[in-house]
């Protein structure tokens, strides 16, 4: 039971990262590698602030701001610097690694007994793992609500249109460069926030904690899509969070099968690869079914 509640809590927090990634990967339609630098950046800023006595709420907010900065850097390199987006993300990700080391002073900093969002106020009275679930749920609900609201504004629609058809968007007077920068900033802001929250949950920040986060986020998005199929935009955001929880449960299952945590990255990649190939399998499957039906009918 403890394992399951812990998994759900983790899934919710990782869901925030997946929501951020959804903006760049699904709406703007490009792979943003900045993620792997933004996530530890958010964590480093948050942990370092808390260790220096900053209020955990403010520290969490700072992790969001930190993410927005890396997003802005990638966005500017991409739009104004005309660097291909994949490379722009990798440049930011690599550069921010050194920044993280500077902020933390060493590779790994623990929170020790400092106050975090998870052990202050009412949350500390909850049973084990429930503070994480409660906090994750609260953040996930707020973010899904705000994102859904934003995507339904004129600006949000222009943002969606930019990812959908850049040419058309420009011809309709949408400044697509600004939309991409804005999208990357919000996206990475959420990823930084996820980094801050997960660092508080785990009790430490590590410069290497970003490795593989891209795959985790994408897995959540794809699992959500595979499980729920066609949905409205708002429902799809919820599906991303649910996908994140499902993904964590699959990992838990794998762990129960006797694999070690060292195998996680390999397993993550395999799960994502399978999920991404599922539509292909389904198509083949359907075609077979159709042929069968065709033969059976008189």
């Amino acid at each position: 039971m403890n394992l399951i509640t812990s998994t759900i809590g983790q899934g919710l927090l990782w869901g925030i990262l997946a929501l951020g990634l959804y903006l760049s990967f699904r709406i703007l339609n490009f792979p943003d590698m900045t993620v792997e630098g933004t996530f530890p950046f958010g964590a480093a800023v948050c942990v370092s602030a808390i260790v220096h006595g900053v209020n955990p709420w403010l520290a969490t907010l700072l992790s969001f701001g930190a993410g927005m900065i890396t997003g802005a850097v990638t966005g500017l390199l991409y739009t104004k610097g005309k660097i291909p987006v994949l490379l722009a993300g990798i440049l930011t990700m690599t550069g921010v690694y050194s920044v993280n080391l500077r902020i933390l002073g060493k590779a790994n900093v623990g929170l020790l007994n400092n106050k975090t969002l998870l052990n202050m106020g009412l949350l500390q009275n909850l049973p084990t793992n429930f503070p994480t679930i409660f906090l994750g749920l609260a953040f996930a609900i707020c973010i899904v609500f705000l994102l859904a609201l934003f995507l339904n504004t004129d600006l949000g629609q222009a943002f969606i249109a930019t990812g959908d058809n850049e040419n058309m968007s420009r011809s309709l007077g949408i400044n697509t460069d600004n939309m991409k920068i804005l999208g990357l900033m919000v996206s990475n802001g959420l990823i930084g926030l996820a980094g801050g929250l997960l660092a508080q949950n785990g009790g430490y920040a590590d410069v290497n904690m970003g490795i593989g986060t891209m795959v985790i986020g994408l897995a959540a998005i794809i699992i959500g899509e595979v499980v729920y199929g066609n949905l409205s935009l708002t429902a799809r955001l919820v599906a991303v969070v649910v996908g994140s929880i499902l993904y964590r449960l699959v990992l838990l299952l794998v762990l129960q099968l006797g694999f070690s945590t060292n195998d996680f990255k390999l397993i993550s990649s395999i799960i994502l690869a399978i999920c991404m190939m599922l539509p292909l399998f389904q198509e083949k499957f359907h075609i077979r079914k159709l042929i069968k039906k065709g033969v059976e009918r008189p």
């Binding site: 609201l149 934003f150 339904n152 504004t153 004129d154 600006l155 949000g156 629609q157 222009a158 969606i160 249109a161 959908d164 058809n165 040419n167 058309m168 968007s169 420009r170 011809s171 309709l172 007077g173 949408i174 400044n175 697509t176």
Partner: protein
């Protein structure tokens, strides 16, 4: 009354290299208010380049562009969208496939306007969209909530055209907008184009490769050859011209 003025427009590509080439050579063209110009020319004559210079996706090497007396020469494509709308040749280029027909319309109603954090208000516009599409033969009004990616090429292009004209543009640019469609659909869209341009008294430039259409539609025909205007005709003189007369301007 002059609407659009192109003064000494020159565009050079690959300047400073051995590949240097002038696409447009000192083009001077003035469109009057309400002119519906059909633009002809062989491939590589510079028709699309001229349209790109007007819409701002390409800046001329030399020359000035004025619309309603306002100098647009240094304005970006995004800024010019307030005044100029266009329909591309490829139906996929003018619409957003993962958004619904109504959402595409809504984007177009705000062409060139500031887009802020106000809720989009899709429901308020649905009636208008439904009215705008009701007389069309292709059933677009039944598909307002369909994702555009699921529409046929003809429906998508009709949608692109309606999006370009839903807010009256000061200038409408059509870049072979019916070339990718089957003959019937192409005919329907050309008729719709003609009707809307007349009703709204739009100033319009339409590129076409169909000589018949070039003479049938509009009030003026311009032929480009090697980056220069070789024919600019309207009125009675144009009415007397046959397709063979036009064809002579294509010969070397």
């Amino acid at each position: 009354m002059s609407k659009l003025e192109l003064k000494h427009i020159t565009t050079t590509v690959n300047a400073g290299t051995s590949e240097e080439k002038q696409i447009l050579k000192d083009i001077n063209l003035t469109l009057n208010d309400g002119d519906f110009v059909t633009l002809l020319g062989t491939n590589g004559a510079g028709k699309s380049t001229l349209l790109n210079v007007i819409n701002g996706s390409l800046f001329p090497t030399n020359g000035e562009i004025l619309l309603d007396g306002k100098n647009l020469t240094n304005l970006s494509e995004v800024k010019r969208a307030k005044y100029i709308s266009q329909v591309f040749q490829d139906p996929k280029m003018g619409t957003a496939p993962r958004m619904t027909v109504a959402e595409n319309f809504l984007l177009a109603t705000k062409r060139g306007q500031r887009r802020g954090l106000k809720l989009r208000g899709l429901d308020k516009h649905l009636e208008m969209f439904s009215r705008e599409t009701s007389q069309l033969p292709n059933g677009l009004n039944q598909r307002l909530n369909t994702f555009v990616g699921a529409l046929s090429g003809g429906q998508r292009q009709t949608l692109s055209f309606l999006m370009a004209t839903i807010n009256r543009p000061n200038l409408l640019l059509l870049d072979e907008h019916t070339a990718a469609l089957d003959p019937n659909t192409s005919r329907e869209l050309l008729e719709l184009t003609d009707k809307v341009v007349r009703e709204q008294k739009l100033t319009c430039v339409m590129i076409t490769h169909q000589l018949k259409d070039a003479l049938k539609y509009g009030n003026r025909t311009v032929i480009l050859k090697d980056g220069q205007v070789v024919l600019d005709v309207s009125g009675d003189k144009r009415k007397k011209m046959s397709e063979d007369d036009i064809l002579q301007f294509f010969a070397n």
